[in-house]
Amino acid sequence: MHTDEVSVTDLEAAKLVFAGPVGAGKTTAIRSISDGDPVSTEMPLTDGPMGDKTTTTVALDFATVVLDDGTPLLVYGLPGQDHFSFMRPIVINGAIGVVLLLSGHDEDAPKHCEQWLSSIREIDEDIAIVIGITQSDLAASFSLRPIRDAVRRCGRPVPVFTFDARSRTESAHLIRALLVSAQ
């Protein structure tokens, strides 16, 4: 690297990870708090090339937020698909916390909650986690109880918020809860 180039890796940087199944609203939430539109990445196919196709677009989102003192906050959105689970330790390692998003519209949300909490804690047992549930207002039968029960089954309690991923203030509030629970 030339000396006049500045990379975020040269600075003290914080990392925040958004995780959760496909369709939970990770990209929307990241967009709502970040300074610009998140970018997606393309990754090589894990099983090698399929004919001419050597890469596939994975739903890994990346965005930055510059804190008031210039410190960059690197925001990552993990791919929701199970077959990209190998990326989780790579992305989560060193993060200040994980925002786990679930869809209130998804009947399997409690199951996803347990799976993701276990998966994240296998990577970092002590990492701060907050759970955000999107679209709860759209599901007439939505119930918070099964998700709270799932959290209890996984051990250490974490904040569970229903919120609107499109709202910057509500997404920011989720991060406040993450920071409070991390103290």
């Binding site: 804190l67 410190t71 509030h173 991390a182 103290q183």
Partner: protein, 340 residues
């Protein structure tokens, strides 16, 4: 029967006739309020389809499945699926059209006695009640005085029980089993919320499956509902019991980003076994605000009391987090919070 009418894009003269027609519905035992469209759910919209804003509002109302009476031309292809009114309709004709439209969209109502003043959600559950799926049992015990939040926290008949609650003709469903509160309209929800610190409530215990036919126009977090109600009526609430509190579950505060004080109270409660006065001191909040939060959290079943091991007391700050407390502070500041 209580009805919320909204109007949009009407001329002054037509608006006056609509308001008079709403008043005239009292002759049919219908207590109708007619106000400007504000985007929230209502029972009926009356709008001028020849006006651009009126057509826009009609579109929103139709997406929300709200009945619409429209002034304009029936041949207007831009708007369909509405009941048309003549701009020259007099007050009596408007009242008749409103009453007919309400009867058409609520057929069960026409079979009721005109003297009944049951809220809409009760009406709409009648079919399921006959099937035994949705049963309510009056548990008001003749007590209508005392702050609803306090009763929901202390009355054994009401604590952590799914309830249908009525205040001033507005009915809501308090569903601690789901952590949700529902109502047939947002206005019912907001109006009920503003009375949570007062008396005059009637409660019915709900048993059975939530009926699919029940009209749920609004659904919200029960924790946030209680919290906003407690904050708004904090001056009416009695002091919290002077016992040591802890948290059994984190309150669902996601839809209350403006209630930062509640987050500060939760932060203190995380330590476990704290007195209300200690919470006020540690969180640097007025005692009245702490009291409001505690009553709200208590009603939502989120608190433990002295002698019971608070679950969250066992939370240990992770080592890497402690090492980066400065960074956390800067992060918190960026997202609008000050970490001590």
């Amino acid at each position: 029967m209580r009805i919320d009418l909204r109007y949009a894009a009407l001329s002054q003269d037509v608006e006056r006739r609509v308001r008079l027609a709403a008043t005239a519905l009292a002759a049919h035992q219908i207590r109708a309020t007619a106000t400007d469209w504000d985007g929230t759910r209502c029972d009926l919209l009356i709008a001028d389809a020849s006006d651009g804003y009126g057509r826009h509002v009609i579109g929103i109302a139709k997406r929300k499945a709200i009945s619409v009476l429209a002034f304009g031309s029936e041949t207007d292809s831009a708007v369909d699926g509405v009941i048309w009114l003549s701009p020259r309709s007099d007050v009596a004709a408007l009242a008749t059209a409103i009453r007919d439209e309400l009867a058409a969209c609520r057929p069960a109502e026409s079979t009721r006695s005109p003297n009944e003043d049951a809220p809409s959600s009760s009406r709409e559950t009648s079919g399921e009640q006959q099937a035994g799926a949705w049963v309510t049992q009056d548990v008001s015990s003749g007590q209508s005085t005392g702050a609803a939040l306090v009763r929901l926290s202390t009355d054994v008949e009401l604590v952590q029980v799914d309830l249908q609650a009525t205040i001033q003709g507005r009915t809501i469903q308090l569903l601690p089993s789901k952590g949700r509160v529902t109502a047939s309209s947002l206005s019912d929800l907001l109006s009920a919320r503003d009375h949570l610190s007062g008396g005059g409530w009637q409660f019915e215990r709900i048993s059975g499956r939530h009926p699919s036919s029940l009209s749920i126009g609004a659904s919200a977090s029960l924790d946030v509902f209680y919290l906003y109600g407690a904050i708004r009526g904090k001056s009416q609430l009695p002091p919290s019991p002077n016992v040591r509190f802890g948290l059994s579950d984190w309150p669902d505060l996601g839809a209350a980003p403006d209630l930062m004080d509640a987050l500060r109270v939760v932060r203190t409660l995380q330590r476990g076994n704290v007195l209300p006065s200690e919470i006020a001191t540690m969180s640097r909040l007025p005692q009245q605000d702490v009291t409001a939060c505690l009553w709200a959290f208590e009603a939502a079943g989120l608190l433990t009391r002295s002698g019971i091991e608070p679950i969250l007391q066992t939370v240990r700050p992770a080592e890497p987090v402690r090492q980066r407390s400065g960074l956390l502070g800067r992060l918190a500041a960026h997202f609008g919070m000050k970490l001590a």
